[in-house]
Symmetry: C2
Subunit: 156 residues, 2 copies
Amino acid sequence: MESTDDGPPDALRRSPTWLMGQAGIHAQRLLNERMAEAGAHRWHYSVLSALADCGPLSQASLGRHCRLDRSDIAAVVGELEGGGHLVREPDPLDRRRNVVTITAEGDRRLRRLGALAVEAQEDLLAPLDAGERARLIATVERLVEHQAARQGSGWA
Amino acid sequence: MESTDDGPPDALRRSPTWLMGQAGIHAQRLLNERMAEAGAHRWHYSVLSALADCGPLSQASLGRHCRLDRSDIAAVVGELEGGGHLVREPDPLDRRRNVVTITAEGDRRLRRLGALAVEAQEDLLAPLDAGERARLIATVERLVEHQAARQGSGWA
DNA sequence: CATATCTCAGAGAGACTGAAATAG
DNA sequence: CCTATTTCAGTCACTCTGAGATAT
């Protein structure tokens, strides 16, 4: 082992874009690891969350809510449908669309995944006290909203 | 266009892991977009930063500093060598290793990429004032350090 | 013999594109 | 005619693994 030297150089440790990128990688890894304990993926959690919060949605709208590609939404919805966590039926008002609706079993699934997400969040935020967590989340939420608005156009 | 409904559901907007993941995606995208203006990639910026901060390093050590895989380091170092931004020579003290050293041209390159990184960081942090930026960076730095320590073992 | 480094080929996961079918 | 939705096949960029050669 030749490594007592590790650790990122100051230029990176002080670079907000690099730091946020690293933090994002860890966040997604921790979330996926927890979801995997239930045989799921963070995508499934996103889709079920959106359905529970917003009620029945088309797949295209689901993709916009979760910031997932139409193509990947089709796959995730197919898997959740196979597990009985949602139903997918043609929209009588606009027959191009599928109306996707969460089921009672999907609600149970969401509660399970939500509990795992809380564990992931505990791992991620472990070094912070309650006030620091609240400030961090509020700040990052503003960053994400700002970027989402800046993209706005240019999305699938 | 059927979308005035967009925007992430509350369960995701309040999920720290989801938020940090999204912020990380934006951070990496913004950084890569800026680097692309100079025909570079964030990897090149990381490697040159590590060399400038730490002095000559082996490729393995470079990988640990930048959190890049040995395999990708080989490619990036090869590209930077091709551009004359660094030299790669066998280490006389341990002939398994390549000693990688930044050149004067590499220093100029790093200054150029550093300026672009500042622009990316300005885009990312645009909604925040100076105090918020400092608090965010200090907090995220603690998260990243904590995760790096937790991984510690288990790294390439 | 066990471990570390470098290199390359390729696998794997993830995000996205293009085109067709269907419908407004 | 043009745009939106769903679906599928396939591409692309990124990360990581495995194996071999070399050296400690």
